[in-house]
Symmetry: C2
Subunit: 210 residues, 2 copies
């Protein structure tokens, strides 16, 4: 009747779990993916990995610390995604690069909704706890900043600092991704969400152009 006790088919003889930290992170993300943000609890995460719930505290100070680690991982992955999206597109094609980054941003959110929600959901890292997370956030926004610097150098944009140009772009990308994930904008399909995103982003780029 109770399927909880015998959850793990291979009962993993007692040993030092190769990389428990990583296993816990993966399990946490998996839990949110599969059963929603509310299903994520430290105890359930530990259960999934097959370890006593108190063991979690050997690797994370508390629940927030685990969430912060998920968020950090997310920002790092988002950065990679955006960078990879423009590999092979010459730096002089700034607008095309921005469009690809925008698509990569949305794709990341749609494919990793759990990460995305943790990244922007509750305000973890208030007061500068988790400096590694702050750093990952800065790095992601830095990618847009750099791109805008290049565009400004080319004289593509209106009189606005590269930083503000980047923030404008990020604001739109986050707004759209967030509304799609929150089902406030209903997309019939991922493909449709992507096309609609192009439709919405184009006016902003037009407005930022000189």
């Amino acid at each position: 009747v109770s399927q909880r006790k015998s959850a793990s088919p291979k009962p993993r003889a007692s040993y030092h779990h190769g990389d428990l930290r990583r296993a816990l992170l993966d399990a946490a993300v998996g839990l949110i993916d599969e059963r929603g943000p509310d299903a994520f609890t430290l105890r359930e995460t530990a259960r999934k990995v097959g370890v006593n719930h108190a063991a979690v505290y050997r690797h994370f100070e508390d629940k927030s610390a685990l969430l912060a680690a998920v968020a950090e991982q997310g920002f790092v992955a988002l950065s990679s995604r955006m960078r990879e999206a423009v590999v092979g597109i010459p730096s002089r094609h700034t607008l095309e690069r921005l469009r690809e980054m925008g698509l990569a941003y949305l794709a990341f959110g749609v494919e990793s909704p759990s990460h995305y929600r943790v990244m922007f959901g509750e305000r973890i890292d208030d007061g500068g706890r988790f400096p590694a997370l702050s750093q990952a956030v800065r790095e992601a926004s830095g990618i847009l900043h750099e791109e805008m610097k290049e565009g400004a150098r080319q004289g593509l944009f209106i009189a606005m600092s590269p930083r503000d140009l980047g923030v404008a772009f990020w604001t739109m990308a986050h707004g759209y991704t967030s509304l799609v994930l929150g089902r406030k904008i209903r997309a019939k399909s991922p493909k449709h969400a992507e096309e609609y995103w192009s439709v919405l982003l184009a006016p902003l780029l037009r407005g930022l152009a000189r």
Copy 2:
């Protein structure tokens, strides 16, 4: 030592609480405002009102239903805020009206962060539970839609449906408000947040203009 037991100075002699539903809603919002979204629990909310925790179920089916009611209230308030912001501005001044609506949108988020976070935070109302909430969301977005219809009639905008124009505007407003509340964009003051918002919104309006 324990301040919990004697929390209510005026112990409200046993009676039928004039409007327990409303009292619970206010207490819930107050709790989130004062001590963060994590502090919101049904039991703490009931305690604040001075009622047994089980009494909550007389008025709300479950915790989600209470949150949905908070969100609904939020969308209704947001609609009022946007409507009031343009009272007295003639309908032919569409761009000015949109700018005022944008400011009202941000102001609502900054002044009612708890409401805002619940409205866009977790995805309540999935699968069309809480039709009153869906209706309140539609009404809020309808305000922008109507404004864009009027603007399109005046020939102000590029070839884009009023619906999509409204969504573009909403996307930017939500993106900015959400990033400010999540501290991803750091505003030195509410005043600064407002000025920066104007700076970011202007390019979008420029891009939407014909």
